[in-house]
Assembly symmetry: C2
Homo-oligomer: 235 residues x 2
């Protein structure tokens, strides 16, 4: 491990990063490896789901939703779970996930400083939203089965709605804390270059504002759909 | 305004609080005034709701839920909205809400330091969860009306479920950020006395972990209730 006063590329420049060691892999290699792992995981889980729930095959939108929640589950449980377990060692580590976090942290140094807000939100993401994302994916597959009953479909949307609210709220707080750190404290956690600020920080998180909003709307429609005027008893 | 280096009672002791001026009202007077304002608001809104939606009168649990969301709406829009608009002036101000915030901040100094996390979460609470809490209260009253249709009842529970997820997630992050600030930075935002740590910090926020969990369960039951085996079409 390098010593704690080694120079580092993170913002703000004076921030203390313990034991920083520069990445050994190129950005292209890191992104390719990560994309490969994720693609393999998605291909495998989607194939498994289509096999176990053949009804899924005919429903493109549902397959896309399934893949979205599997992606969320993977990132939350494994990638963000890695951060939760190893945050203090990340700056000096060289395994794939550590190098990916060091690269991403160029756009948000809180990931290499054991920031209390990052830890709080990532712990909840890894242990609550990650498993629930996988559960939604399972429910999507189950609800697409030809034998699926109405209750399964409703449960899927109740669960999907909850995860979507969590995602939108979480990403709003993620952007919000950065905004107010800059406005109130003059602290920017991101390097100013377009790649870091706009592509990593703004761009990579934006899907968690957009996709969950769309999926929440889908769930709201499904949950408030009243069938042919039949009175549904209030519980 | 006192100068920015005036001594103050907040934790950690070295934290900078701009322009602190001690409260002019006693704690008993502050709590009595706040409780009085809230009670008056609840009595008025509940009476109005019972008048407009007589069906509410016979439903004690629904009246309690109505009052809960009106309480949330009041606190989010007005009390927390006050913080959002006036956070920088609170330490030196003497109006009722400023004095209440100065008293509460003995258990969490982030409310007198324009903390970026507090600002991010309180802005969202004031402009999203506050109005939505009032909207849930309106839906509860509307759904209790004898003429209410099924769709209104379902919409109420979809909205209630979303607000409840927001509440539970928000309070988890509130406690979580304090926990990790203490664990990673050795920083406690609360004075150590029982009144501040256990009554204000732990106690006053705990209802937002418990009540929304119960109300979310109510909504889940209502939304996944399948009427007499009738098949409900997936949208």
């Amino acid at each position: 491990m390098a010593n704690s006063h080694a120079p580092h590329p993170y913002y703000p420049p004076h921030v203390a990063v313990q034991g920083y060691a520069p990445n050994t892999l190129s950005v292209v290699a890191l992104v390719a490896a990560f994309a490969g792992v994720i693609a393999a995981f998605l291909v495998f889980t989607l194939a498994l789901a289509r096999r176990l729930s053949p009804g899924l095959k005919r429903r493109r939108a549902e397959q896309a939703a399934f893949c979205w929640f599997v992606l969320c589950g993977f990132l939350h449980c494994f990638f963000e779970g890695y951060f939760v377990l190893n945050h203090a060692q990340i700056p000096g580590s060289q395994d794939l996930f550590a190098q990916l976090w060091k690269e991403y942290a160029l756009s948000d140094s809180r990931y290499v400083t054991s920031d209390p807000f990052m830890l709080a939100i990532e712990v909840l993401t890894a242990i609550v939203w990650g498993p629930l994302s996988f559960l939604v994916a399972i429910y999507i597959a189950a609800a697409a089965a030809t034998t699926a009953n109405t209750r399964t479909r409703l449960q899927r949307h109740v669960l999907q709605a909850a995860v979507c609210v969590g995602h939108v709220y979480g990403v709003a707080l993620y952007y919000g804390t950065c905004h107010f750190a800059e406005r109130m404290r003059g602290v920017s956690y991101s390097r100013p270059e377009t790649l870091y600020y706009w592509v990593y920080y703004a761009g990579l998180n934006a899907p968690w504002a957009v996709v969950p909003a769309l999926l929440h709307y889908q769930s709201v429609k499904a949950l408030t759909h009243v069938d042919g005027g039949a009175a549904k008893k209030e519980q």
